[in-house]
Amino acid sequence: MSLSPEEVKKIAYLARLSIEEEHVEQYSEDLSSIFGLVEQMNAAATDDIEPMAHPQNAMQRLRDDVVTETNQRDKLMANAPLKEDGLFLVPKVLD
């Protein structure tokens, strides 16, 4: 299985990565070689094995529903490039 240059471009768009046209071919080859590895794993016999959602065979630890955080806005916004009225400012987004 291999990825076409169009698929590479689509993946890049979804990840908001800007890639140069001249590198598309290389990415296509690199990513396709990962599929090679996946296919190799597919060859392993797993018919009687229950799939796992996580490599660790453990269950999620839960925390009690308690508010432990205080207002840290000034510190957390310290390195935001633009802010106003306690809001982060970002380039205009419209649906």
């Binding site: 839960l62 955080e69 809001l87």
Partner: protein, 481 residues
């Protein structure tokens, strides 16, 4: 051609936890922007989510209430998309292994029949922050206080066939989550939100038509309007030989129209995968037994019990059980006063209209259930008439006294049941209104009301109405001349 409408709803109910789904930040509404977003909610590098036990318990409650299996090893997955109010670049949600599996809820149709609606699934997920498109010199403001707030997304089967059915289903879910105490039911603040998937198909056709998703329909009225508009739009389109495009449409309540929101196809490529930061959630039998034991009486059950135990009509029982606080209030009054029907009338009538006029919830009512009980006891033992009772209620509402008895006493509202006193008043009125007496005796029955009015006026509304009627009839009869 005859068309059939097919509707499925996705409801996002904010769970009433104190802290967020994966962090210890407060979920309180309406705070200063970005004061309730910590490093986890802001997705700073290196942070890890830790799951809130209460959110898991609430989701399990909902599952048990709709008769659904609870996912024993339910799994969190990442739903990937870019938006500035989603700092992680993905939403932690659930995909193929949700916490609540297939269940159902029964709705009542307009003709009184019951219809079962399938609930495909319900899963836990984080809410995003808020984008404020006010004018910040052409920029968008981001408030992340809501980021990470726990949501239960409740997905229905495409089982509804009209906008009315969709609203009935939405109301049922709204009622249920409030009964369970897992959601505050506040549509205005966005703690209960709804999207609708709508399609049409020629009647009799098995396959579904192409659907559109309607967003931003956050009131029961808007849901009905938006769906009807969309159905009309799709039918017009198809009848003109066009085709429906699968897309997201936004309902604009001001213009009362829907418009296309996103056209880019790739916008819907979420590339879900299990979140490596989170392990599967274990649900044990012991845990489920505990949750089951904590379930309150559910609306359907309460509805039937109110009809049997208090002899209420299905209308009254329906109104009184639509909200748990209202049901509790009614039941307290009915039990303590021993007058179920009278209690129902007062809660549905006078109390509800006062609450509506002042835009108050029953939990904030200035007239407590104890106060209303006291009032109803005085109506039942005929100390006051129903009309005077309204005056007493008004005085209680305005805080002029803490019990009905206080107000009856201080305002001298006790009903006059002494027939001698009533007779004396009537004699005087008859003597002063001979012209009306003649009219009545010559067959103008309507004039009777004039006399009742006069007696009530003379007694300041305190004369017992039944006695007034009876004595007036005797005195005005021609043979008494």
């Amino acid at each position: 051609m005859e068309w059939e409408t097919v509707i499925g709803l996705e409801i996002h109910a904010q769970l009433s936890t104190k802290s967020k789904l994966f962090s210890g930040s407060s979920t309180e509404y309406g705070q200063e922007p970005n004061t309730q977003a910590n490093v986890v909610d802001l997705a700073m590098p290196g942070v890890l989510p830790v799951l809130n036990a209460e959110a898991v318990r609430m989701a399990a409650m909902f599952g048990l209430a709709i008769g659904a299996p609870i996912g024993r090893g339910n799994v969190f997955a990442r739903k990937n998309y870019f938006y500035p109010d989603l700092p992680q670049g993905y939403q932690i949600s659930q995909f193929d292994k949700p916490i609540v599996e297939l269940g159902h809820i029964d709705i009542t149709l307009e003709n009184g029949e019951s219809k079962r609606i399938g609930v495909t699934r319900a899963h836990l997920e984080q809410d995003a922050g808020k984008s404020l498109h006010k004018d910040f010199a052409g920029m968008t403001g981001i408030d992340l206080n809501r980021s990470g707030t726990p949501l239960l997304e409740i997905v229905s089967e495409p089982d509804m066939r009209s906008a009315k059915e969709a609203v009935a289903y939405m109301k049922k879910i709204h009622e249920l989550v409030q009964y369970l105490g897992i959601n505050d039911g506040n549509l205005q603040e966005g703690s209960f939100r709804c999207d609708a998937n709508v399609s049409v198909r020629p009647k009799g056709q098995k396959e579904f038509g192409t659907r559109t998703e309607l967003k931003n329909i956050n009131s029961f009225r808007f849901v009905e309007r938006a769906i009807n508009l969309e159905v009309e739009r799709q039918i017009d389109l198809l009848e003109e030989g066009g085709e429906v495009i699968q897309e997201t449409r936004l309902y604009d309540p001001d213009k009362n129209q829907t418009r296309s929101m996103r056209s880019k196809e790739e916008a819907n490529d979420y590339r879900y995968f299990p979140d490596p930061d989170l392990l599967p959630v274990e649900i044990t039998d012991e845990f489920l037994d505990e949750v089951r034991a904590s379930l309150p009486e559910l609306p359907q059950v309460k509805f039937k019990r109110f009809m049997q135990e208090y002899g209420l009509s299905d209308y009254d029982a329906g109104v009184l059980t639509a909200n748990r606080a209202v049901a509790d209030y009614f039941e307290a009054v009915a039990k303590d006063s021993g007058e179920a029907k009278l209690s129902a009338n007062w809660v549905i009538g006078e109390l509800s209209s006062h609450l509506n006029n002042h835009d108050l919830l029953i939990t904030d009512s200035p007239v407590s259930s104890e106060m209303l009980t006291g009032l109803i006891k005085r109506i039942a033992d005929k100390t006051i008439s129903g009309k005077i009772a309204k005056e007493v209620f008004q005085a209680l509402w305005e805080g002029e006294g803490s019990t009905a008895d206080d107000i009856i006493e201080s305002k001298g509202l006790k009903q006059i049941t002494d027939s001698g006193a009533i007779e004396a008043m009537i004699d005087e009125i008859i003597a002063n209104n001979q012209a009306q007496v003649e009219q009545y005796r010559s067959g103008k029955d309507k004039v009777f009301g004039f006399f009742v009015g006069q007696v009530m006026k003379a007694s300041q509304g305190k004369a017992n109405p039944a006695q007034v009627n009876q004595i007036l009839k005797q005195k005005l009869a021609p043979e008494s001349e």
